[in-house]
């Protein structure tokens, strides 16, 4: 079983990101379970969403305290919350950031990748300029790094899930995801260091 935790801010699409990724994994015959941090959400406030993926039925029903990987949709969260809390050593941290992975200062026990999803969202007019919706772009990047994981997810499944779950601007969302797939920066050094 793989457990992924999403960090974002209310309104950025973290919950939808977890649902899109769940559907993408579901298309590849996995059992999935995804849920938001239960309760009330406010635009701009830190939010979390969770995703479990397994080949057999997911039975455990509680929050994820020790995720295998994390996906951070907003770079400003790095200064606000400890996104790595409980993250297993060797786990991936995928961050929406215009920095290189080694510039973010994560401990070397984690593997880090960055993608400038905000620029892509603005380029493809996803969401308002003041709060671009970055969720589809970051999932394109995730598809790339999933090749280093035991359960992979293809771009085809990501695009299929976007088509299913995103109500508007499907084509632009898919373009952003595809571009992100190629744009993601993986820190080779950190990769080795695991």
């Amino acid at each position: 079983m793989i457990e992924i935790r999403f960090h974002g801010r209310g309104g950025q699409g973290a919950v939808v990101a977890s649902e899109i990724l769940a559907n993408a994994f579901f298309f590849e015959d996995n059992s999935v379970q995804t849920f938001p941090e239960f309760g009330v959400e406010r635009r701009g406030a830190p939010v979390a969403a969770y995703l479990r993926i397994d080949k057999s039925q997911v039975l455990v029903r509680c929050k994820i305290y020790e995720p295998d990987h994390i996906i951070v949709l907003d770079p400003t969260l790095l200064n606000a919350v400890d996104v790595t809390v409980g993250l297993k050593p060797g786990g991936w941290i995928l961050v929406n950031s215009n920095h290189k992975p080694d510039e973010l200062g994560f401990p070397s026990k984690f593997r880090v990748a960055t993608i400038d999803a905000t620029s892509l969202a603005i380029k493809y007019h996803l969401g308002p300029r003041t709060s671009p919706i970055v969720n589809t772009a970051i999932l394109g990047a995730f598809s790339n790094i999933s090749q280093f994981m035991p359960i992979k997810v293809s771009m085809k499944s990501i695009c299929g899930a976007i088509k299913k779950k995103v109500p508007i601007q499907r084509e632009n969302n898919i373009k952003a995801a595809k571009e992100a797939y190629n744009m993601v920066i993986i820190d080779k050094e950190l990769c080795k260091a695991k």
């Binding site: 559907n23 579901f26 999935v32 379970q33 995804t34 938001p36 239960f38 997911v58 039975l59 029903r61």
Partner: protein
């Protein structure tokens, strides 16, 4: 067809597949998505039902009663405070012997104001004459609603299908939506008893003197007695036509168990996860008894499973204040006239939506195994004392 969907939407699909004809509903967190999807089904014609917007949950049930009485298949859903507001009409539906099916998303009662899960809302309605089914997965939610109509329309008692707030209601997972043609085969159109006939008008719900009301109340108990075999039959039929079965209770890996956990709702699912791991490690003396049907309480069936165990750990996500866990009370009562009974441990956990983790379950198992008798009447799991 397999689909990734939330527990709430699983409810809506269940009602749609059952071809509910009248849906009166009032939104309340965490049930709102159920109403949203159902109103969408009605608006787009996917479900040919009359959707009634009413001003409160009390009116929701009043409208459902009218619809059911007139011969329509009536469905609704609510949660927590909404269920409490409905209470008067909850009695009415049962005493009126109306086969209404309602989903209740378990929500802790205020104050402290809460939108998170525990079972005190639905268990407050346990003595109203409603059949209660507690679910552990979205799949079970959809299936239980369909089964609920099958049972209700046979015994003429209303059915409450219960799911945990958020842990189930807002969690998306894979469910296999039944083919509606098969559901149609399982659940033919509702043919009401011809109580409402304009040409042959009869008075309904009027004053009943003590000379007769005693007998009428007896009939509800009689119908409850009948419900256990009917529910088993409905589940068997479901297996035959739709391929899945749940039982009214389920003994899980109890074959070699001397300690049995009694669970309901999503705690069952997490407990399965723990028990699977233990069994995989070769530790096979722990099992689970899932109670799916709480009303009528399947006492005989429960005793049959638990009497083999030395220790029984009842995990309650609820509390009967001044007594203890409500499931635990019922389980103990089931053994009332038995000569022998296992040692009962009553664990209370998860109230007010507190997360229940595999670690908590493991802790419950450890406590039960290491104690001959419980040190306290109620063992609070995870309480910061």
């Amino acid at each position: 067809m397999k689909e990734v969907t939330t527990g709430n939407h699983a409810v809506s699909y269940g009602a749609m597949l059952s071809r509910a004809q009248v849906i009166a509903a009032y939104p309340i967190t965490p049930q709102t998505q159920i109403v949203e999807l159902l109103s969408n089904f009605c608006a787009t014609g996917k479900l040919k039902a009359k959707f009634l917007k009413v001003e409160s949950e009390h009116s929701v049930m009043a409208a459902s009663i009218g619809a059911s009485l007139a011969g329509a298949r009536a469905f609704t859903a609510t949660s927590g405070q909404g269920l409490a507001l409905m209470h008067e009409m909850i009695h009415w539906a049962a005493n009126g012997r109306l086969p209404i099916v309602m989903a209740d998303v378990n929500r802790s009662m205020a104050p402290g104001w809460s939108i998170w899960t525990d079972q005190n809302d639905s268990l407050s309605q346990r003595d109203t004459g409603w059949i209660q089914l507690y679910c552990e997965s979205s799949q079970e939610v959809t299936d239980s609603i369909i089964q609920g109509f099958k049972i209700a329309e046979k015994v003429y008692l209303p059915v409450m299908v219960i799911l945990d707030a958020f842990v189930l209601s807002h969690t998306s997972e894979v469910i296999d939506l039944p083919d509606i043609k098969l559901v149609d085969k399982y659940l033919p159109p509702f043919k009401a008893r011809d109580m409402m006939d304009m040409k042959n008008p009869r008075a309904f719900g009027g004053l009943v003197t003590p000379d007769f009301n005693f007998e009428l109340k007896y009939k509800i108990q009689e119908a409850m007695n009948q419900t256990i075999p009917v529910a088993k039959w409905a589940d068997r039929e479901f297996k035959r036509i739709l391929g899945r079965s749940y039982g009214i209770i389920e003994a899980y890996k109890c074959e070699k168990a001397d300690t049995i956990l009694v669970t309901s709702g999503t705690i069952t699912s997490t407990s399965r996860y723990v028990i699977n791991q233990l069994h995989a490690q070769g530790k096979k003396n722990v099992g689970i008894l899932k109670i799916r049907m709480f009303r009528p309480f399947p006492a005989k069936e429960v005793v049959a499973v638990l009497s083999k165990a030395k220790k029984v750990a009842v995990i309650d996500r609820n509390i009967g204040y001044g007594v203890g866990g409500i499931f635990c009370q019922e389980v103990k009562a089931a053994f009332g006239n038995e000569k022998k009974h296992p040692e009962f441990f009553n664990f209370i956990t998860g109230i007010g939506g507190r997360d229940v983790t595999p670690k908590d379950i493991q802790g419950i198992i450890d406590y039960t195994e290491t104690h001959k008798k419980p040190k306290e009447d109620i063992i609070w799991v995870g309480l910061r004392k």
